[in-house]
Subunit: 130 residues, 2 copies
DNA sequence: TCGTAGTATTCGGCAAGGCGGATAAGTCAA
DNA sequence: TTGACTTATCCGCCTTGCCGAATACTACGA
């Protein structure tokens, strides 16, 4: 599913509205998790196997499997069978564009970008953070 | 504040690593909420007051206030006083670029983009969706 | 000064979603 | 077919973060 390229889309602003926002937000959500983003960046650099991904991010294999499936469903990466392994790669060059652009913006605002520091001033005890 | 260009920021994929990912993920998180994304798109089209934003998204004023503060902290929008109102606008052209790019990608993958439909097959009762 | 409009913060509640561990399901070599 | 290996699903647990309502704070006008 999801033919990798085939795309022809070109950036065209305007014509927003609609529940298009919901879909796009969903799209962003996939990248809003540090682990998934790390995985995407890792795969962006080169084709990777699941095992490599597991080692790279350091969480359990089942979790990585879910994350990779998520990235694949969203069209960020493509899975390819190689023997009994799966190799993941990024098929759409716009993905790199998107990440690069976001990284640039984030870097510029990194200063104030504790983002939503106002939201979780709750909680108590528990010093384990993560 | 926040000079649009200013800092380096040149597209260079790979060679990322670092906890840069965390910051960037944080950045994406701001756009991963449909309400916030809707607000950003709304403001992207024209400068808006808080009241307009509240009406546009249809949730409580306190919530909108938090969302707008979040967007401002992340550098997506800029707040400007006008009388006793606040007017929000987008100061960095790259924000529009980012949204446009994401929208294009999301549209292309919208088909399979139920994104993480595999994650919440739990729960029961309660048919209130979201 | 006081009153009002506009904005921000606090609070309790609740769903979404990330995590590890156990385990099922699929894939290939002998 | 069996066994080894790789990947995906299920499970309970727990944190994150969104929500409305109440309310405090701030800026401006009279």
């Amino acid at each position: 599913m999801t033919h990798p390229n085939a795309t022809a889309t070109r950036p065209e602003v305007a014509a927003v509205s609609c529940t298009h926002s919901d879909t796009t937000a969903r799209f962003f959500r996939a990248l809003s998790d540090p682990t998934r983003l790390r995985l995407l960046e890792f795969i962006l650099a080169a084709e990777r196997t699941s095992a490599e991904c597991v080692e790279h991010v350091g969480i359990s294999q089942p979790r990585v499997s879910v994350h990779l499936s998520c990235l694949a469903d969203c069209g960020y990466v493509i899975a390819r069978r190689d023997g009994r392994k799966l190799r993941y790669s990024v098929g759409d060059p716009r993905v790199a564009e998107l990440v690069t652009l976001a990284r640039a913006l984030a870097a510029d605002n990194a200063a104030a970008l504790d983002c939503c520091p106002r939201i979780p001033p709750k909680s108590s005890a528990n010093g384990d953070a993560r």
